[in-house]
């Protein structure tokens, strides 16, 4: 991706963000999936943001992707969050080099990749991640969803709890454990399930504090047949291995989203304080010494979160899966997850009661921001991860991590 393409991508994202902003309240209020926003995402070929240019995509690197997500989130964080769930799948594939050799497995892997690219680029298909389960969250080493091998493929059974874009996405990327495995750490694989496959049912119960328009719902898989060709990169057992060694997508995919929330909040604050006078005065609040001092504090937190986020994303590009990159991803995830609620709470405190109203974005940002800590890795899992890393623990061993 050259710098002109990067600028072009950012321009598109800024334009979309502005349009998303206009619709955000309505989607949020009614907990509706942002179908119009996704139509624009499709129109701008953004479903293929991670797909290499030679296959018809934008070919974004991880840093550019993160910045794109940040911009989109300033318009509507829920849309950006849902959009990321699709890119987790596509980006995870795109970053794996094409399989060399012409053995069966290599060619199956390449066929899989080709199919995904085709579905995304030509058919504008959306993939959703189906990982978390009731009682265990995203701790995939405790998965209860299982699959049995058949001659033609797999039979999947289980319940997934927080499937974003449930009912909208065309495919679910289901993390499941091989049934009847004798090994101690049984194979956890990703299987791509058609939304309309027999045995797939979604319950529309998403009615929550924030990120209300993501349609994050439970999906049940009852004896669902999955063709062999829909095994992620044609490899069984890849999931846990990949998640533990290269957590950037699962943990770090959405750091741009939560940074975007902080960023939008700060921009709102600046604008509001410049345009609101002190009671009984013609001086804007932005000239109040206490307001300036507090704004400096918030800027400091925003800037720290931004530097950590870009640093992590850059390391994903240059040293993917290294200890340094993985620690950086968890550090950034922690900062944006906890920085958001702090910053939105402070902005409301500073701006005053008027900005509680739904006609301002602040209250939605306050609600949306609190969801970051709950998505894997949780804020406390992040802290434990980077603490352990500092003591030299081998965190590529899934047992040592929170998975």
């Amino acid at each position: 991706m050259d710098s002109a393409e990067r600028d072009e991508l950012m321009k598109v994202c800024h334009e979309l963000a502005e349009e998303f902003a206009g619709r955000a309240d309505d989607y949020d209020r009614h907990s509706k999936f942002p179908v119009e926003n996704f139509a624009q995402i499709k129109d701008n070929n953004l479903l293929a943001i991670m797909i290499p240019k030679e296959y018809g995509g934008w070919g974004a690197d991880f840093l550019t992707y993160t910045k794109a997500l940040e911009v989109l989130a300033t318009g509507d964080s829920a849309t950006a969050l849902a959009y990321n769930m699709h890119n987790i799948m596509v980006g995870s594939i795109a970053e794996v080099p094409e399989a060399a050799g012409d053995d069966k497995r290599a060619s199956a892997a390449n066929d899989f990749r080709a199919w995904v690219y085709d579905e995304v680029v030509k058919h504008k298909k959306v993939f959703a991640s189906a990982t978390s389960e009731p009682g265990i969250g995203a701790h995939v080493s405790h998965l209860k969803t299982v699959y049995d091998r058949t001659d033609d493929g797999f039979i999947v059974n289980g319940v997934k709890s927080f499937v974003s874009m449930g009912g909208y996405a065309d495919y679910y990327v289901v993390a499941a454990k091989a049934a009847r495995s004798k090994s101690k750490t049984p194979a956890v694989s990703f299987l791509i399930v058609d939304r309309d496959a027999e045995g797939v049912t979604m319950k529309n119960i998403w009615d929550v504090l924030g990120m209300r328009s993501t349609s994050t719902n439970p999906v049940t898989f009852k004896d669902v047949l999955v063709p062999k060709s829909r095994l992620f990169l044609a490899s069984e057992g890849l999931a846990l291995y990949k998640i533990a060694r290269e957590p950037h997508w699962l943990v770090g995919g959405y750091i741009g989203v939560y940074l975007g929330i902080m960023s939008a909040t700060f921009d709102f604050l600046i604008d509001y304080m410049q345009n609101k006078n002190k009671p009984g005065s013609e001086t804007p609040l932005s000239q109040d010494p206490v307001v300036q001092h507090q704004t400096g504090q918030l800027y400091s937190e925003l800037q720290s979160a931004r530097l950590a986020t870009y640093h992590a994303a850059r390391l994903v590009d240059t040293a993917r899966g290294s200890d340094e990159a993985n620690a950086a991803v968890h550090h950034a995830k922690y900062l944006v997850s906890e920085g958001g609620p702090k910053m939105t709470a402070m902005a409301i405190r500073m701006c005053g009661a008027t900005t509680l109203a739904r006609r301002f974005p602040l209250e939605r940002l306050y609600r949306d921001s609190r969801c970051g800590a709950l998505m894997p890795a949780s804020s406390d899992d992040c802290l434990s991860y980077i603490g352990k890393a500092a003591y030299g623990t081998n965190l590529k061993n899934p047992i040592e991590t929170y998975w």
Copy 2:
């Protein structure tokens, strides 16, 4: 109030809190005023909580009142908040000794008091506070609402921005400035306006982050006639003087509400952690060392807020209007206003994604808690107040404060 009466009052509040809790989500969701809750408040004579026993009330002291509010708020903080707005009026009257002597003014003051007690005890009438205005908030020295004196009373003109129980309360207690006053600090008086008086109109636009069922709406007063007998304690110019010297009602009335939010949040957390196991384990999360450590941190914050709140309320009872009491009220107001968002944010972080759902109270507590900082005195006004107090500033001079 003896200790048996106190226990009886607390028992009633606990019972009501439980019922309020069952209805809280519905009122919140639809931003509806909690009419059923107020019916129960009336049935239990709680509108007269501050009225002396000899006049048919409960005769609560400020500490008991604060604890009652805390308990009610654990059920539904919005109801408790609205309820406090009524008690600001009644409590402010009850704490002033009856006027001695038989001059005209003394007897007018006593008549006013008798009328209020009668309206509350016999007719179950509700009084709402109408202080804040667009652009100035509750900074009453900048009021734009004015009144003109006529032979029979007053003519009021102005707009009030955040009138809780707007449309439900029977009377509005309107802070207004004498028009055409020549003095430098013009008389600010409280006038009691009938909800249905000619010229009174309310706009139902309350659609906000939290405290959604309080019906806190703008009310316009256009050439509204107010009889002489409806001047607060028959005294013009009392408002600013009283607010600056004895801010406990305006600033400290609702500290119990926000303490109740913290309290309810902590109880929820304890219960949840005792009943939720770690992923893939039979051990409850309450036995996790990090969870215990974080819970200790939250307990520390809750307990600090509670000690400060009770301390302030006790001082209002024993040294009302003293510098010490006033500083204590601002300290408590600050702690509960900022402690709430911190505690609810942390509880969600610890409990995880499941508790974002509206079927749990946590997300509502997160939203409601953020409103405390915005009600006078704002968190930053509180800090400036206690900072100035520490430097010996005379804060009974309204000019030195945030009013």
Copy 3:
């Protein structure tokens, strides 16, 4: 203790504090034990502060004691800290009711008490606590110091690591474990050892960050003979039991000291800011809005620490050993231990470079304040304790606590 006696005690403490303040820098700088301060403590009968009036003491309750300590610490926190080590012993005895009946054990206990009172009141003897050991700190369930029973008493062997007033105190109160015990939780007893007994040696190596004049040194006990009559309250096995059930002395004795540090710091700040002008101006810094706001923040923290400390001390007086009192002691200990470094760090930041100099007390307060967290219970043990308490853990079981 009636209120006139309380006032008298406070007056004495204020006078001493002023004198201590004048000597604090010298003692601190040279890490010398404050012999002159202790001479004044003796002259004012303060060694007997916890001894009942009928036995010649002041008969202070725990709250009054805590306030006395706070005042003394504003003059010199190291002196106050050392002084507390003596009162742990005396106060622990004074709070136990005299043994009833005339059996041998009851009379031995009463003889012990009478001896201690006599040593303190008549002979001005000082007792020092010898609990901590290398590698285990104050975690007494892991003690390595042991005692063997002989016909006449006990033989003690072991090393104690942080014995305050080492070399100055007349007696060491040594926590030791019965050797060759078969029970699972072996008896931990307190034995009173004469400073000059054969086999007792102290190494003078105390050269540390703060609390430099306490002479907190290692003391070795090598085959030291202790007469039977010097067994604490004539009871073996009392130590661990008492520490776990009634931790107020060991954990909460010195909360007044660390509160005193916060208090002295705040007073210094107020005074300094009122007398220092902004650069190039005649306006004192106390009128700067940011300074006022920050001062309000510090006041809030000081006041929270103070309320928690007095609340805990009051509960020790009214409900000693209750779950509520024990939690309150740990809460207060945590707040004053962590509040001190925060407040002193902030005061230096606000006052500026001039106040780094040793001629001001601020730098010593900064250093002394950091020692609180390290004395049992550590700040993190406090948090875990109150966290566990919130989950209903039985903390009277030593295994559940940090001991």
Copy 4:
């Protein structure tokens, strides 16, 4: 500077840091200037770290310089701090392009530069900054030190309060105001004064909390003659202008020092926790879940400070004096100044009482770290600066800043 030279420089700094560490306690304890350390600095040509290679220096860029300082500070932060004071002068010259043209002023400026380079490279002369004054700190717009023009140069009168390396440095770089100037913002110039010039006297009174070996003392200038050739870059009035427009040296020179303190503290913590067992156990504390979680928190703060510091330094190299660079410098200065005391306080809390002893570096780091906030720009000036910057204030106007 190419990457081999950078590596070579870092290697030298690491070696020196190790040697500095061995002497740090002695210098600190006796408040002695680290003469041996400076001898090594001279031996390694580090006085010329900022001088271009073609003139005999290392030619370091600002980022490399900052990293070098960080490394040196891990050995002895006071030495690194003093060393920076020299580089402020030399670096400020080195970054200004040589004067073009052959007019008198250009050639005088080039002569000045040549003289400085020569003094440093050939004669190993040390320059000290003399900016702050009693009562005004470093707020140079309120300077009281003045100079009068004579035919041959200038006569300087005034008192400077915090001159690091006072008595050791060969030259003082004195900020002084033109006397009898009629303009509203009088010229503030830098004059280079010989340590041994007549009328220069230093008082050795430095006896403070931290940075004890920097010999930061008051220096009085009484009718001191300064030759014309010693006017900084041959330009009057440059000082205030340069400080306000390009504050990176005065504000940001030492950010590497305070980052180094955080870094050394974290490394100590990691090592200590890996080698100390829990009481009564064979498990190192580094495996305790609460310790890991807290370590994660500290890592997060260290990493945020580091990213901000390197980011700021990089911007000084690529966009010197830009709004972005200046804000970044203040952001970094704030983070390292406040991060240090927080991190050292927490490390002591976690490591426990043993580490209070002077034989460990932790207590010195705790003391040294607190000095950062007091050096210009103070932590609160930094926050106000970046707050104002966010509101678009023109901070290149000295009146808008804290100078």
